[in-house]
């Protein structure tokens, strides 16, 4: 019976998944005192995300226009759909025309394209990346895998509905959607941002407990702080 329990580490006190550099340790300081270090608490932010109210009136309208015209996409491909992203930077589709640019780091990006299925392992990375992005941030879910699981709907290792785990702004249906569909998705996202309806970063902060509970239901080896930007 115990052999079949793949989540048996959950019941133990010791976290078997903790990386060695994240273990608690005591360090001798130069003045001779001993300092306790808990990397998970010291190196990461433990604060809950807060709702950040938009400014009011024409100022917010102008800022929203700027945010919509300058979408910086995180270069993180999660599933087979990421093959649809490289054509966007080539002459045929050229997304730079629309102010959409690729950025290599989550700190500098506003748009996260979940391109296809998310395995449990990748979901963990996707959540970490999403939480590191500065607000306001937007998510485009590409392909039917993110809507209901698509062809992986009964897979043992992928999630089915993406918006149970992170809030989604725009869905692009298809398996796979072509790059034109992705460009249409960007156009839709711009509409939403300009109309002030793309406030999902605040949505995430408001329903933080619900999202975290859902995420922890799936990710068994949760060895990171609850909120880690």
């Amino acid at each position: 019976m115990e052999k079949n329990n793949i989540h048996k580490f959950e019941e133990l006190d010791v976290d078997k998944f903790l990386a060695p550099e994240n273990e608690k340790r005591s360090v001798l300081a130069p003045d001779g005192s001993i300092v306790e270090i808990d990397p998970l608490k010291d190196y990461f932010c433990q604060d809950r995300p807060e709702e950040l109210k938009p400014r009011s009136g024409p100022v917010e309208k102008f800022l929203n226009w700027a945010r919509a015209e300058s979408l910086w996409v995180l270069g993180f491909g999660t599933g087979c759909g990421s093959i649809e992203i490289p054509p966007l930077v080539t002459p045929r589709f050229d997304m730079y025309r629309y102010g959409v640019q690729m950025r290599p780091t989550p700190r500098q990006s506003n748009v996260f394209i979940i391109s296809g299925y998310l395995s449990v392992k990748t979901l963990k990375r996707a959540i970490r990346s999403y939480e590191q992005m500065p607000s306001p941030k937007y998510i485009i879910a590409l392909g039917s895998c993110t809507i209901n699981g698509g062809m992986y709907w009964d897979s043992y290792n992928t999630i089915n509905r993406l918006d149970h785990y992170i809030p989604v702004d725009v869905y692009i249906a298809g398996c796979m959607p072509r790059p034109e569909a992705l460009l249409a998705g960007f156009a839709k996202l711009k509409e939403l941002i300009k109309a002030g309806k793309a406030e999902n970063a605040n949505e995430y902060a408001r329903n933080f407990d619900w999202y975290k509970a859902n995420q922890k239901k799936i990710i068994k080896d949760w060895n990171m702080p609850d909120f880690n930007w």
Binding site: A66, R67, D94, P104, Q108, N110, P134, S135, A201, W229
Partner: protein, 302 residues
């Protein structure tokens, strides 16, 4: 109004012009790059939108004091260079705060921003930042060798370290430019300029797609906005420095715009043709041909 105050206001106006021209120049160059690869490229006004967006982000987080000060140091490097370079020759308003020894000070300001950025970025704790910093500092040390040799050659040739006097000595037609009177120094400096601008063969500091983007990996929002503003100022200031030293200076803003564009275009032109060097290739490259040419330039004027 007091002369010092009017002078300060005019210099601020000059800084405004230079910042905007630098941003327009960078978007133009990105469009040229895009055309080379068959794309249309970003709209010409994209850098301004990016800047507004960066300053309008709601979340900003810091990793410590030095993380804050890093971009400020970098901006100081750019603004400091601008302050001491005479922009338009023969015009007391646009010659900024240049004085008799400004050339040495400007060589220092080139390095100053980099050092500040190194301190700030390493506090971010990103391993890629550390790699970018070590690459940047080692490459810039070797860039300085041919550039300093060229500057020393110029100092021997004109017997001065003042940029204004070097420009004054070049007046009187295209044949009196340093480009013709001291071609070796010009070649050495223009080769080191490729590294200073950090376009393709020598873009291993930021190295997109390799070490995400090097030192600014952790920088976002306002921090990145400050860094981008500085990038615009620094590019024009650096091009204006080379214009003053080797290409006869500028008699008007229009002339400055044409000449800085062409000097900047030189590095973009090389960048679209050649792929990226590795750090050891880059360091060796600067210490070979450009350094030898720089030494020849000095020997000729001894």
């Amino acid at each position: 109004m007091d002369y010092s105050i009017t002078k300060f206001l005019w210099t601020l106006l000059g800084l405004f012009i230079v910042t905007n021209w630098g941003m327009l120049m960078s978007s133009t160059m990105r469009r040229i790059n895009a055309r080379v690869s068959g794309r249309i490229g970003i709209p010409w006004y994209q850098p301004w939108i990016d800047l507004v967006k960066l300053y309008s982000l709601r979340t900003q987080l810091t990793h410590g004091t030095m993380f804050y000060i890093g971009p400020v140091f970098r901006l100081m490097g750019g603004v400091g260079m601008f302050l001491f370079i005479p922009m338009v020759y023969g015009n007391p308003i646009w010659s900024n705060y240049s004085f008799s020894g400004d050339l040495v000070l400007i060589l220092y300001f080139q390095f100053f921003g980099m050092l500040g950025m190194a301190l700030g970025a390493s506090e971010g704790g990103q391993p890629y930042s550390a790699i970018g910093i070590s690459r940047g500092l080692s490459q810039f040390t070797t860039i300085e060798v041919p550039m300093t040799l060229a500057v020393i050659s110029l100092a021997i040739q004109y017997q001065t370290l003042s940029i204004s006097e070097i420009v004054a000595a070049q007046q009187g037609g295209i044949t009196t430019w340093t480009m013709w009177t001291n071609p070796f120094a010009t070649v050495a400096a223009m080769l080191s300029l490729l590294g200073a601008f950090g376009h393709s063969p020598f873009n291993l500091v930021k190295a997109p797609n390799e070490i995400p983007i090097g030192p600014p990996t952790e920088y976002h929002g306002t921090f990145l906005g400050v860094l981008r503003t500085n990038g615009a100022i620094l590019h024009v200031a650096e091009a204006a420095l080379f214009m003053n030293l080797f290409f006869g200076g500028a008699g008007s803003w229009f002339e400055l715009i044409i000449k800085t564009f062409l000097i900047y275009f030189w590095s973009v032109f090389v960048g679209t043709v050649f792929p990226r060097f590795r750090i050891e290739q880059s360091v060796r490259w600067f210490l070979k041909v450009p350094t030898i040419i720089g030494i020849i330039a000095i020997i000729l004027f001894l």
